[in-house]
Point group: C2
Chain length 467, copies 2
């Protein structure tokens, strides 16, 4: 007899924690740290606060004699805006709940990262998480909570109010089974690579051995926070259109487009409906199934929508990329390509690529540093579309760019979007969305062509010298 | 002002379909096909019915002139046991709902694959899915349904009863945006590799160009269906123990272990509690937090639990692996290693590895065929722990096994478990769980050592010949 059952989202990720990046104690320690730090960076940036983030990993004293994996206390503190105390328990105790289900660029997007760190800590140590948060600097709300995994709901074990010292912020303290030794290289690289793209953040990291790594602020200029936007018409899908039509008060299709889509004005709308051969005065609610199909298909193929503007995005820009390349790679030659905004499935995105050659760049194979929405990606390089593009152009086709074997070549790729197409809930690597692949290819070709020019000038200069 | 919201599981996967293997039209067509075929195979095997599965992809007529991607009709039919008509709408219309949340090996495990195929079809074409199913052969229940994505619930558009022709089974028919041209190689490989490990199944596949591929049954012997089991104590986590203690009527710890765990009898339990230094007569409900920690930690480190038996598993076995190697690779030499059952995090698993060398095996690099729970894995090879083990041993360390460069070498890996640790909800590749990595290494070393023996005999025979 076949028996059926349904499970909650937290139960699903309890059973399948590999999907969220918690496969083994080393990886889990890495992922939990990443998720909490990214929550702090997001919160500070969207409230235009220069981030001060403090991260500490402490082995639990009585476990010091036992070999890894062991129990660690993980603490992440920020000076961000704090979390509304009414919302904080759900923010950390409920999977698929958060403030980032909006069309603007942020590191968070799934509504589950912080909750997964809490969940993993709970299932490996049975200890509750402690959250301190203040939105006014005067009162800190201290929550001790655990997750009712079968219900996907927080259980508040204790709640207190503590006198604040004048500054808002949030601190998360949890215990988890980790392997700090195995995770060490990746954790340190994460902080280093994160600091490179957040020069306005001050990050202090005290690792499991008590060693402190301090990444000071090198600029007081915050990037302009990304603004919420409307979907871009290119690639907008049926379900989106169906909901729009169901919910709309717009009296005709012309208004439906101009009121609800990114950069669609009266002229664009008129021209689009001419192209689609649909009467733009008809009412959305009267549209037949065939005509909705026709309209959505036409939105896919119409070439003259204005490209997205980047208000909903927060690209790194030349200054940050240059500063990072110079400080970390000290190359003899470098160049940057920043692609204009594009869109996939209605989501605006920008691709930025940096190239560094020679100087202190190590030989022995192309080194790729991947980022997405300012998050360093340190796992599963081979599966990432960015690597596949780099391998195709800078390795398989290196002759075309006059790149010698074992060249001292490093590339940095950054994809930023209102929705990064991660292939895993652990945000390890990017899926191959054709539009993103195309823009990565354009950007990588651009920097490789500049490198080729540099290399051929260099070799002709050397030829001149020899004569 | 920060506003929070929660979303349903189907809304989550609507927004993040890349996580489920639906990144682009080619991949989506592949994944939808895979999910439906695996549902049919699971259903037939668990009801001990020799599977007859019919798959057909048909381009929608009026789209034939437009270039790919286009709208396809995907139809998958089986002679399985059918689905209880009361449950069928939720089975296909609700994410995180199904019959496979049990501790036994099956291809399905997430409760979302079939639902995702329906969801992707709906968001790309707005058409409902049609399900025909009969559990008695007399009446077929025909459901036309779509998914209320925001609610994660099915909406039955139409329901009919049709006269059956005497045989039970299920047919799923849906429309979706696919790219059959781009997906062609992978789809055909999927059927070929699937047929290799299911010689008891008859599979008919009519591709998008109308070409029929017929994989006949080569044996009438079904594998013994996997039996539901209890968790194995090795690696059982806190949350599992907490729930067990909360729900139990067992009066003492000794009974708690013998009644609830796989192959833990009176002797094992007594010896375990001696090792853990815990009084096995104490009541589970009276156990302090510290003693639960002590018990769970001891369950991790105790080496003398009986290894799992394989009733909950369904390994391929030597016959199927040999038949597959011979028919597809025709090597000059082959060998198979089947590891004894092991467990990770309480889940029993078995690793099986086949090796084929020379003969018709192509040169030019090691070829790896990966399987998990009889599912062929055709994507993201580089990220799979199976590939990392094969690369480490058969490529980086090939000298140790006397393997020449560009050797004509192929390996087949099969990991079967009551829970395969997939890293993605699209079941593309395996996460690196240490226990599974260890068993893969043991199995690969075993076959490579046999190959080394064969190669050195071969070279000494040739040396004899030359004299
Ligand atoms: N340090 C923090 N400061 C302010 N708000 C926070 C902080 N940490 C978490 N939050 C809030 O809690 C919500 C849930 O966090 P969680 O990490 O679970 O999901 P997310 O960040 O929205 O998405 P993702 O799963 O991609 O990380 C966030 O959306 C944010 O509103
Ligand atoms: N062809 C079929 N015959 C019988 N039962 C089926 C069939 N297809 C689906 N089902 C039932 O519907 C349920 C839901 O299927 P679905 O593919 O969504 O999830 P699953 O197979 O349980 O897990 P997974 O997401 O890993 O595939 C299954 O558990 C099974 O009980
Ligand atoms: Mg987050
Ligand atoms: Mg399934």
């Amino acid at each position: 007899k076949t028996t059926f059952s349904g499970i909650s989202p937290s139960e699903f990720f309890y059973r399948n924690r590999d999907l969220a990046g918690f496969s083994n104690p080393a990886k889990a320690l890495y992922t939990a740290t990443r998720e909490l730090v990214e929550n702090s960076l997001d919160a500070c940036e969207s409230s235009e606060i220069l981030p001060n983030i403090y991260v500490r990993m402490t082995p639990v004293v009585d476990q010091l004699d036992s070999p890894e994996p062991r129990t660690y206390k993980l603490k992440v503190s920020d000076n961000g805006p704090g979390i509304d105390p009414v919302k904080a328990p759900d923010a950390f105790g409920r999977v698929f709940y958060g403030s980032k289900y909006k069309l603007r660029q942020a590191r968070g997007m799934f509504g589950m990262g912080g909750t997964m760190a809490v969940l993993y800590g709970q299932i490996t140590t049975s200890k509750p998480v402690v959250i301190y948060t203040s939105t006014d600097g005067k009162k800190f709300h201290k929550f001790t909570l655990r997750i009712d995994i079968q219900k996907n709901a927080p259980v508040i074990i204790n709640k207190e109010i503590i006198e604040g010292k004048g500054s808002t912020g949030t601190t998360v303290e949890l215990l988890l089974t980790g392997d700090a030794f195995r995770a060490s290289t990746k954790v340190h690289d994460y902080f280093l690579e994160s600091a490179l793209v957040t020069p306005y953040a001050e990050i202090t990291f005290v690792d499991a051995q008590g060693k402190m790594f301090y990444y000071p602020r090198s600029t007081n200029t915050l990037p302009k926070p990304s603004q919420e936007t409307q979907p871009h018409p290119h690639g907008f899908d049926f379900e989106g259109m169906r909901r729009l039509i169901e919910d709309t008060d717009d009296k005709n299709l012309h208004k439906l487009l101009t009121n609800n889509f990114h950069r669609v004005g009266a002229t664009t709308s008129t021209n689009f409906f001419k192209f689609a051969k649909i009467d733009h005065t008809s009412s959305p609610k009267d549209l037949s199934y065939e005509n909705i199909v026709k309209m959505v298909d036409a939105m896919h193929s119409y070439e003259s929508f204005l490209p997205p503007d980047s208000h909903c995005l927060s690209p790194l820009g030349k200054d940050i990329l240059n500063a990072g390349i110079m400080s970390e790679l000290s190359p003899e030659f470098s160049t940057i390509a920043i692609r204009p905004p594009s869109a996939y499935s209605g989501f605006p995105f920008i691709v930025e690529v940096g190239l560094a050659y020679g100087g202190n760049v190590g030989s022995g194979g192309v080194k790729l540093f991947r980022y997405a929405n300012r998050i360093p990606l340190l796992y599963d390089e081979g599966s990432d579309i960015a690597w596949q593009v780099v391998k195709d152009l800078a390795i398989d086709k290196k002759r075309a760019y006059k790149i010698p074997d074992n060249a001292p070549l490093a590339l940095i790729t950054h994809v930023c979007s209102t929705k990064v197409p991660f292939k895993t809930a652990g945000k390890e690597f990017l899926a191959d969305r054709p539009e993103i692949e195309r823009e990565l290819k354009n950007a990588v070709r651009e920097v490789l062509r500049k490198l080729r020019l540099h290399l051929s000038r260099q070799s002709s200069q050397e030829a001149v010298k020899r004569r």
